[in-house]
Amino acid sequence: MSTTEAPLTPGPSVADGDADAPREVGRRRRIVRRLIGNPLAVISFAVLLVAVVVAVFAPWIAPYSPEQTDFARTFAPPGTSGHLLGTDDLGRDVLSRLILGSRASLEVGLLAVATALVVGVPLGLASGYFRSLDAVISRFTDLLLAFPFLILAVGLAAIRGASLGNAAVAIGIAQIPGFIRLVRSETLRLKSLDFVTASIVDGAGDLWVLGKHVLPNATSVILVQATVAIPAAILGEAVLSFLGLGIQPPDPSLGTMLATAQQFAARAPWTAILPGVTIMVLVLAFNIFGDSLRDALDPKGSRS
């Protein structure tokens, strides 16, 4: 393909990047450029980065052990020396509990989404690729959807008891249908594209086509879905722990902190407000970054 010469084409040429590899690199570079050019994306990414670093090094960063009680200093307001964000009904340091609680939130978020990915992506690929499996997997998806995450958690807690792991599994199971449907429709779309059809006609094995063509091209939509699923899981964990179906006291969790604070909210409003704000900032950062990522990946251009 020849292009017109430089003096006449100061703008982008129609024939930009005709080989596959350079286009892929160019695409990635454009996505990164779009993300960096979006201040909201940069801020949300920075918040997430800080949250992850704090979570990883939580035991060293937290000024106190989250379970260390001090009955001489209960309900110390924020700003009290030694307790930047105050203490709760048992005199435990609120900041330390927030740090460890955020760590638990991220843990549940990642665990839940990992569960959903491990089950949902293969099933979605199979459902979209093999016609014979589609009906069976679709019924399975409908079946999972019929159990809202809270009802799943209720059932799981009834059978196996309430814990961080069970809460994450319940949330993860509830997220499986979303991944199946997304990956299924993306697989159907990719399967109808010429380069995949050509590969199938050439006699490539099903697994090879799925692994070489379908999955790599579906990565970006899966990634976007994951950035939306993690904050949903964090909110889910908070709800379950608040209700007593998730992380059990005295283990620190933003949800259990709120459950305790409910009784003392009028006396110590900070114990009720700070965990909620922490959840919101975490979830908001994920959601904003997810939105920015989706916009950056959208070939039609920015939509925010």
Binding site: S2, G11, A15
Partner: protein, 354 residues
């Protein structure tokens, strides 16, 4: 109504009988990667009962020109110049003024009749909408008129079709519905943007017949936009050839096919199949290269990089649209923008006209 396209000197400006006068129309778009110039100082006239074809490759600005006539471009577009409808300036006119013009004075037919019709409204509803906006007829009269229109565009059993949804009609039928919608208010100007491109060849002829019939019956001026020279040869009185946002040649249809002066026009003609050509011996020629996307219109001939006759002059200054009839023996109304016109007629171009 008389059609005398050959007597029209389109450059004479606001000549009598011109319904639509376009002068120095310029459109630029602001995109993520900067400004793009889509249309650069184009001028054209449309007279009552005249069918003018705009031809060019995709991306040459022909559709943008059509949309800009009644201000239908997205907000990222900036339009300058002048578009006068019966002397009323439309560029820069207020939205209510433009809304009154759209559908009533300037109506459109678009390329994809499937996606251009709303899938969730009956075709009767979509046609009567235009009448309700511009004519304010009673419900009963509106329905009668819709049936009349469906009959006019040759839709069989209109009494049933009026309550159908677009997906229940064939592609040709849908395009007839689009035409019925467009002519509902007897517009002075009908803009048909690739009206037959998405249709089967057999259906195409029927659609062109309807357009011609409308012109003969109602005296509608039609601006037909296409990349298909066969369509142009079939229906147009006059042709405007566009390249990279500029008019490169403009002439009565027989004249253009007989004596193309711009090398781009000549290239287009050579790239079109024509009866009488022999496969194998007379190969279709392609024009090497692509239409450039321009950020700024250069002071040069934009076709020069693809042109066999280009030299330093072509790259150094933009040729103006002129008619040099005496020297080349051209008919009046034939204008071109080229420093080194083709001159004599190329062989076999005439055969394009069926």
């Amino acid at each position: 109504m008389t059609i005398t396209p050959l007597e029209v000197d389109h450059r004479s400006g606001s000549g009598s009988g011109s319904i639509l006068e376009v002068r120095d129309l310029t459109v630029t778009f602001t995109t993520e990667s900067g400004t793009v110039s889509a249309v650069d100082h184009i001028s054209l006239d449309l007279r009552e009962g005249e069918i003018v074809g705009i031809v060019g490759e995709s991306g040459c600005g022909k559709s943008v020109t059509a949309m800009s006539l009644s201000g239908l471009l997205p907000r990222s577009a900036r339009t300058a110049g002048s578009v006068r409808l019966h002397g009323t300036e439309l560029i820069g006119a207020k939205e209510p003024v433009l809304r009154a013009v759209r559908g009533r004075d300037i109506a459109y037919i678009f390329q994809e009749p499937m996606s251009s019709l709303n899938p969730v409204l009956t075709v009767g509803r979509q046609i009567s909408e235009v009448l309700q906006v511009h004519e304010r007829l009673s419900r009963k009269l509106t329905r009668d008129r819709v049936i009349e229109l469906l009959t006019l565009v040759g839709i069989p059993s209109p009494l049933q079709r009026i309550d159908n949804y677009p997906h229940q009609l064939s592609g040709g039928m849908r395009q007839r519905v689009m035409i019925a919608m467009a002519v509902a208010c007897d517009p002075k100007v009908l803009v048909a943007d690739e009206p037959t491109t998405a249709l089967d060849v057999t259906v195409q002829a029927g659609i062109l017949d309807i357009l011609r019939e409308l012109r003969d019956r109602l005296g509608t001026a039609i601006l037909i936009i296409t990349h298909d020279l066969g369509v142009i040869a079939d229906i147009a009185d006059r042709v405007v050839v566009m390249y990279a946002g500029r008019v490169v040649e403009s002439a009565p249809v027989d004249e253009l096919f007989a004596r193309p002066q711009h090398h781009y026009t000549a290239g287009l003609l050579a790239a079109s199949p024509a009866p009488g050509r022999h496969a194998g011996t007379d190969r279709l020629q392609e024009i090497p290269g692509l239409v450039p996307v321009l950020a700024v219109q250069p002071d040069a001939c934009t076709f020069a990089p693809r042109c066999p006759a280009a030299d330093a002059q072509c790259l150094g200054s933009a040729p103006p649209l002129t008619s040099d009839q005496n020297a080349l023996g051209l008919l009046p109304g034939h204008a071109f923008a080229c420093w080194h016109p083709c001159g004599k007629p190329p062989t076999s171009a005439k055969e394009l006209k069926p």
